[in-house]
Structures are given as structure tokens and as C-alpha cells.
């Protein structure tokens, strides 16, 4: 018994501060948040504890999911995620593919493609709000004006002011910021493929396409999965860019994270908590299997 304590004691002691912090601030609060989401805590008086809140179970969730307003947010989230994922994966792969073989000035290209990642969404939002200005023709500035200058007037559009597809405009700066990250992941993947493998396939007379299809793509698929998971879970948390480009009150571009902020600001804690829990569930569906899989692979 004492022996066991001596063996397990020190590591536990060293882990203790983090375990307590993560236990309380992650798991404790997730439970507390879920509890709040099951109450009728919709007013400032209840939020400050002056008036009691009563359990209403899943009413908030049902009301939210039935409301057209929230459905619009979910639809926006799906659209944003799809465009963001497809955009970053294509750009990231393309850049990595172009830089994979020795290229003059490789360092410069790589650094420039990756630099937007070091900038905050709020700062890039300032310039993208200008670029995505919805004014057209005479009044156009930003990208719409640039389209006129290069003779592509037809491409002018109202960007994030479009009710159905406005959110896609917000995905553009997100793609600008994170394609470099996906490129870095793919580049690491390419570099991890042994040269002999390619040589072997080439000597075998495999065409470039077959080389990719049968040798390189399978080797890159774990990297692609990592990239999908990371970008995917980032897109579910989309918030900063929308706050700085189109503002939280903008119906066209709202997503659940923005709704949560609006509910919180109006002291509707129950609905804010419910939106938070919905986001958590969506993320967990994607992340938990991934974490379990990674854990299992490591053990092998």
C-alpha cells in the first residue's frame, strides 16, 4: 500500500494543479452550463439570482431548433464550414504541391503563404470589412472596385449582405488566414514520404498521376484527416471574424456562436447556455472518435 502510494503519489501531485483546473473549468463548467440550459433563466433578474429559475428540461432546445432564426444560424454554420474546409484544403494542398519539390525562393513563398496565421481575426477583419464592401459600380471600393479595374465587372456582388450566401463571404478571409496552415501540414506530410517510394514507383513506369493516386495520396491521408479535424472544429467556433466584419446584429451572417453572444448580452442565460451545449455536442461528435482513434494508434 505504502509502496503503491510512493509510486503513484509524486506523479499525481505534479499533475494535481492541472487536473483540478481542467476538471473544474472544463468538465465542471460543461455540467453547470448544461444545467442552466435546462432552466427558464431568461431574464436579468434570474441571471443575477434575484428571481429563482425553474427547470423546464429540454424546452429551450426544442424552441431553439424549431425557430427559423436559429435554423438560419445552423444553415449558415454548415455553409461556412463546407466552404472554409474545401477552400483551405484545396489552397493548402495546391501550395504544398507546388513547393514540395525544390523551388527557388521556397522560403519566401512559404513564409508569405503562412503569415496570415500570425494575425488575429479581429485585425484581419478590419481590412476584410473594407475589401468586402458591398457598394458597386460608381460607389464601389474594395474588391468590387478591384474587379472593375481588372475588367471583371461581372464579379461584383454584395458579399456578406446577401441573405442566403452572405456567410460564404466571411469564409473568404478565413480561407486567406488558414490555407497556409494546411499547406504547412501537407508539406510536412510530403517530406515524410521516403524518396525510395517515389523512385520505386517511377522506375516501375508509373505515370505522375498514378504515382499520386496510388503512392502519395494514401501516404498523405492521415495529414489530410488532421487538417480536416482542426479546420473543421475551428469553423464551428467561428465568431471573431463575424464580430469584426459584419457585426453580431447582422442577420445575414449570424452563426450559433454569435447567437450565444447576443443571448448572453441580453441576459438570456438559459438560451445562451443551450446554444453553447449544442455547439459542444456538434464538436464532440467530430472530435471524440478522432481522439480515441489517435490514442489507439499510439498504443500500437
Amino acid at each position: 500500500m505504502l509502496n503503491k502510494l510512493r509510486r503513484v503519489g509524486p506523479p499525481l501531485l505534479m499533475l494535481a494543479p492541472s487536473l483540478i483546473l481542467v476538471g473544474v473549468f472544463v468538465y465542471g463548467l460543461i455540467v453547470a452550463n448544461f444545467t442552466t440550459s435546462l432552466t427558464d433563466n431568461h431574464t436579468a433578474a434570474q441571471a443575477t439570482g434575484q428571481k429563482p429559475a425553474v427547470f423546464v428540461w429540454f424546452t429551450n432546445y426544442l424552441d431553439l431548433l424549431a425557430s427559423e432564426d436559429f435554423q438560419h444560424s445552423l444553415m449558415n454554420l454548415v455553409l461556412y464550414t463546407v466552404v472554409f474546409l474545401v477552400g483551405t484544403m484545396i489552397m493548402g494542398f495546391l501550395w504544398a504541391w507546388m513547393l514540395e519539390k525544390p523551388v527557388k525562393g521556397e522560403g519566401l513563398f512559404r513564409s508569405v503563404y503562412l503569415f496570415p496565421m500570425a494575425v488575429s481575426f479581429v485585425a484581419s477583419g478590419v481590412v476584410w470589412r473594407w475589401l468586402l464592401n458591398s457598394n458597386q459600380d460608381e460607389q464601389a471600393s474594395g474588391l468590387n472596385r478591384l474587379f472593375q479595374i481588372v475588367g471583371l465587372d461581372a464579379l461584383q456582388n454584395n458579399w456578406w449582405n446577401n441573405v442566403t450566401f452572405g456567410i460564404v463571404a466571411i469564409a473568404i478571409p478565413a480561407i486567406w488566414q488558414l490555407s497556409g496552415y494546411v499547406m504547412a501540414l501537407f508539406l510536412a506530410g510530403f517530406r515524410g514520404i521516403p524518396e525510395e517510394l517515389r523512385e520505386a514507383a517511377r522506375m516501375d513506369g508509373a505515370s505522375e498521376w498514378k504515382l499520386y493516386r496510388h503512392v502519395l495520396f494514401p501516404q498523405l491521408s492521415p495529414v489530410a484527416l488532421s487538417a480536416l479535424i482542426i479546420i473543421g472544429h475551428m469553423s464551428l467556433k467561428a465568431f471573431d471574424l463575424i464580430m469584426s466584419i459584419s457585426k453580431p446584429a447582422n442577420y445575414q451572417t449570424k452563426v450559433p456562436a454569435v447567437d450565444m453572444f447576443v443571448f448572453k448580452s441580453s441576459f438570456d442565460y438559459a438560451n445562451a447556455a443551450a446554444v453553447g451545449s449544442i455547439l459542444l455536442i456538434i464538436v464532440a461528435i467530430v472530435i471524440v472518435p478522432y481522439l480515441i482513434r489517435t490514442n489507439r494508434e499510439e498504443k500500437r
Partner: protein, 295 residues
């Protein structure tokens, strides 16, 4: 796959060098450079806009001049942005520096324990910690405001230090754990034979060889805390908050958008992380890679 490819190619004479394709290759090369330069320009467009607009005076406000260089270059916007944002930049430093150091240190302790002293359930503990990195913080925000209130921690700098430390633990633990798994076992075993306790081993053997990982972790934490907006907007105001909140306020506060000032402000707010990226790019990428769980 690998074995198959090797088998297929065994005992085959090497084919002659594919000289026939040389012309095609150089065309492909040219096309590649055209592509690379095209994307270079596209990625840099926002930088051009930021720089040019920040030096423009009110005389350049007409939309027809949107993409032109300033008629008269002025540093007025820079001066205004600096006086508005300087206090917030100071507060951001006060948040980011201590929180990065503390969370890096905690991550190093965790990473060491979880990679070396494997006890039953160490993997489960690690996975549970790691999950904290992926949660949408919206799912804890409401009770978190209550908890911070109950703990009596003032909003602004103190609260944000605490939050960046706590929610930084998963990623710092991950990076250090991956790093320590690559440290040769003998190095630590040697310390153990000497009868050094776990804490002694950590202090005198592990910590000194952890410098490269500390650099990666500190850069990562510095960048993400500096760029944080979500926690900042919930737990501070433009009076006591970091530069992201102040910048957002500057860019959207006034009825009339003053793009010159807000773009100068955006550049100020991005300079520290950009400088870190330019000087320590290698370590920055190291942090990015660890973000992909498997490192």
C-alpha cells in the same frame, strides 16, 4: 502498399534518363512559378490595402481612389491609432506574458509525467485533458462568468491571465508530452538510479533539455493569447481589456468608419505577433505542427 511497390520494382534495370520530356518539364516549371507568384500577390493584397490606407488622409476618401497610392502621405492615422491603442497594448502584454509562462510550466510538468511515469489510466487522463483544447468555449462561458464573479477576480487583466493559463493547459501538455517521448529513456533512467526523486529528476535533468519545447510553447501561447478575442469580449471592456477589444471598438465604434485609423490600428495590433513570426518562424511552425495532435 510500401512492400508492394518495392516488390514490383525489384531486379529491374534503371530506365534511361527521360530526356525527351525536358521541354515539357521546363514549361511545367514556368507555369509553377507563375502560379506561385500569382498566389503570393493574392495573399499580399490585404497587406497592400492596410499599408496604403493607413497613410491616406481624408482627401483620398473617394471610392474611385480606393486602390491608388495616397495623394499626400500622412502619418496622422498612425498617431491617432497609437494614442488610442497604446494602453491596451500594454494591458495585452500584462496578460500574455505571465499567462504564457505559467501555462508553459504547467504543460511541461504534465507532459513529463504523462510521457514517462506511465501509470494505469495515464492515456485516459491525457485524452481528457486534450479534449479541453477542442471544446467550443461558448459551452462554458455562462457558468464561467458566474465562477469568476464568485472567486472575486476582477474582470480585465487578472481574469484573462487565469483563463489563458487554464485553457492553455491542453495544448502545452500535448506539445511537451510529444517532445518528452523523444527524449532517450536512458537519460532519465540514469537519474533514477542515482536515487533522485521524481521532482529532482524533473528539475535537474528534464527541465534543462526542454528549452526548445519551451520556445515553441511560449510562442504558441503568446500568439494565441495575443490574438484572443472571445474571452476578451466576454471578460473585459475597451477600458480594461486587451488590444483586440480596443481595436474592434476603434474600428466599429464611430458612426462614420475611419478606415485610415483602424487600419493603422490593425497594423499596430498585429506587429508583435508578426515580429515573433518573422524572427522565430521555425519555432512557430513547430507549434503549428503539434496542434495536429500527433505532432
Amino acid at each position: 502498399m510500401t512492400a508492394e511497390a518495392e516488390q514490383l520494382t525489384a531486379h529491374r534495370p534503371a530506365p534511361a534518363a527521360p530526356r525527351v520530356h525536358k521541354g515539357r518539364y521546363s514549361l511545367a516549371r514556368t507555369l509553377k512559378y507563375v502560379g506561385l507568384i500569382f498566389f503570393l500577390i493574392v495573399v499580399l493584397i490585404p497587406v497592400y490595402v492596410l499599408l496604403v490606407t493607413s497613410f491616406k488622409g481624408t482627401g483620398d476618401a473617394d471610392p474611385s481612389r480606393a486602390w491608388n497610392l495616397p495623394q499626400i502621405w500622412t502619418t496622422e492615422n498612425w498617431a491617432t491609432a497609437w494614442t488610442t491603442l497604446a494602453p491596451a497594448i500594454g494591458r495585452t502584454l500584462a496578460i500574455v506574458v505571465p499567462s504564457s509562462i505559467i501555462s508553459a510550466f504547467l504543460g511541461s510538468l504534465n507532459g513529463f509525467v504523462l510521457s514517462r511515469w506511465s501509470f494505469k489510466g495515464a492515456d485516459i487522463v491525457f485524452t481528457l485533458i486534450l479534449f479541453g483544447m477542442f471544446i467550443p468555449y461558448q459551452a462554458v462561458m455562462i457558468p464561467l462568468t458566474q465562477l469568476v464573479l464568485d472567486l472575486g477576480i476582477p474582470t480585465g487583466v487578472p481574469t484573462l491571465i487565469l483563463l489563458h493559463v487554464v485553457y492553455g493547459i491542453p495544448i502545452t501538455t500535448l506539445i511537451f508530452r510529444n517532445y518528452y517521448s523523444t527524449v532517450p529513456h536512458e537519460l532519465i533512467e540514469a537519474g533514477r538510479v542515482d536515487g533522485a526523486g521524481m521532482l529532482r529528476t524533473y528539475w535537474s535533468i528534464v527541465l534543462p533539455i526542454s528549452i526548445p519545447s519551451f520556445v515553441v510553447v511560449l510562442i504558441w501561447q503568446f500568439t494565441s493569447a495575443w490574438n484572443d478575442f472571445l474571452f476578451a469580449v466576454f471578460f473585459s471592456s475597451s477600458q480594461n481589456g486587451p488590444v483586440t477589444v480596443a481595436l474592434n471598438n476603434l474600428a466599429n465604434g464611430a458612426l462614420l468608419q475611419n478606415y485610415g485609423v483602424s487600419m493603422a490600428g490593425a497594423l499596430f495590433a498585429s506587429l508583435p505577433t508578426l515580429i515573433v513570426y518573422i524572427i522565430l518562424g521555425k519555432y512557430f511552425v513547430g507549434g503549428l505542427m503539434s496542434g495536429s495532435v500527433k505532432g
